[in-house]
Amino acid sequence: MTVAATIRIQEADFDVAQEIAALSRGRTDIGAVVSFSGICRGSEQGEPIAALTLEHYPGMAEAEIARHADEALSRWPLQGLTIIHRFGRIEPGQNIVLVVTASAHRQAAFEAADFLMDYLKTSAPFWKREESARGTSWIEARDHDDAAAARWTKS
C-alpha cells in the first residue's frame, strides 16, 4: 500500500498528542508509533537564552523534507509518517520539530524516526539564531550531527 507522509512547515505551535493520535486513529494495522519532539532549551553551552529564531528556505525546506520522507518510506515498512518543523521565534520550553513514525513493529518506527531526525538536522534548510543577554548569534553546525547522518549512508 502507498503511504503518504504528512509534512508541514509552519510558524504556529502543534499539539504532539493530537498528531500522534491522528496517525493511528481508526487503524488496526499499526503496532508501533514512535515520536520525537525537539524542544527549545533554556540554555546553549551553559549560557541562558531568551529564545531561538528559526529562519528557513521556503520551497526548498518542503522539497528536502519530502525527499527524505520518501527515502524513509522506501527503506522501512512504515504505515504512517508525520513531520512538522516550525520557523520563527520560539521560546524555551516550546516545540520546534516533530517526527512521528508508525509501523507494524517497533524497529522500523524507531529507525525511521532516528534517520529522519539526523537528516533534518544536517540537510533541511533551517538556521537557528539565539537571543541572549549578550545579543543575538547564529548557532554553529555540529560535527557530531554530520557524523550521525553519515551512519545511514549505504556504502
Binding site: Y57, E64, V97, M117, L120, K121, F126, K128, A141
Partner: protein
C-alpha cells in the same frame, strides 16, 4: 538567474535575494562564489571561507563543482542547524 541568501550569508551581504547575470566564464557554483566575492567588501566577507558555504540549485543541495547553466534559482547559506 536569481540568487538567494540565508542566515549570516544574507546578513553579511545585506540582502535576501537579487538577480544577476554572471559572465560566460562563470560556469560552476564555485566560480560564482569567486565572482560574487570579488564584487565588494560585503560579498568578500560573506564568502571569506568558501568551504563553509553551502549551495542549492533550484531547491536541491549541490557541490561547488555543479554547473550553473540553466539554473533558475541559486541559494547560498551556512551549514544547516534545524531540527
Amino acid at each position: 538567474m536569481k540568487l538567494k541568501y540565508f542566515a549570516w550569508v544574507r546578513e553579511r551581504i545585506g540582502k535576501a535575494e537579487e538577480t544577476v547575470e554572471p559572465p560566460a566564464e562563470v560556469r560552476t557554483v564555485g566560480d560564482l562564489i569567486g565572482w560574487l566575492a570579488a564584487r565588494d567588501d560585503a560579498y568578500a566577507y560573506a564568502f571569506e571561507k568558501p568551504k563553509v558555504i553551502r549551495a542549492a540549485i533550484d531547491h536541491a543541495h549541490v557541490k561547488p563543482d555543479a554547473a550553473i547553466a540553466g539554473a533558475r534559482e541559486i541559494a547560498f547559506f551556512p551549514p544547516m542547524t534545524g531540527g
